[in-house]
Symmetry: C3
Subunit: 100 residues, 3 copies
Amino acid sequence: MKLTELFLVTIVTERILRDDLVDLIRDNGGKGYTITDVEGEGSRGTRVSDFEGKNVKIETVVSREVGNKIIDQIAEHYFENYAVIVYANPVKVVRGDKYI
Amino acid sequence: MKLTELFLVTIVTERILRDDLVDLIRDNGGKGYTITDVEGEGSRGTRVSDFEGKNVKIETVVSREVGNKIIDQIAEHYFENYAVIVYANPVKVVRGDKYI
Amino acid sequence: MKLTELFLVTIVTERILRDDLVDLIRDNGGKGYTITDVEGEGSRGTRVSDFEGKNVKIETVVSREVGNKIIDQIAEHYFENYAVIVYANPVKVVRGDKYI
């Protein structure tokens, strides 16, 4: 089975940002996403969250180019005022051409 | 602590396939799995899902050989008619000999 | 956007260990964590779990040094008597200096 190297971008943030980030992923070329309800604590921004503990994890498999765009847009719009963690790692994807 | 390099295979698909895929993992040599209820959208197959939005993520840590078998079997049996995304990445596992 | 290479340490274990492992992460220098309720089966220790099927996944993004400490502590205190799987993989993190 042919595997394509793409990037898994993972975002963990406040649930209130869920729909905004799904739109952001789509607007920057992401073809899909997976959302998981999670709990957690971590380094935070300046805003005291009303939703401490209740977070959402959003994952998307994208090309490096789309991943960089998504990361830059999240940094620009959400890092100052929201609790957001974003990381990426390479993954080998089956039928990877569907995600580019 | 000695770490063994193995592969984390991640499958995101319709919930209706959950039990079939757990059997498939076991039948091909997987020693365990983790299941998470998730939501999502993505590239789909030809079947219009009655379960749009409600998906399941199945993760299994396996050898490269077992991982390839699992991926090939999923591709052969489910890619045509179901929404399935499959990707893999190397992970360093503690007590990795238990997973081979 | 500058990315820092750190390690994503993933622990899947019995729910009863949740609070203990959060403390262990913090005590060894972890700055945050994400918790997901999951189900699963896998290689187990000597203890027959009363919570079979109900597990928790704990993820933390840390430096290699902190990751090694966390892994060693989990191995020392929990491997003998609990069902625990621990693995790690490198991730590129945005604002990674917040996690060190």
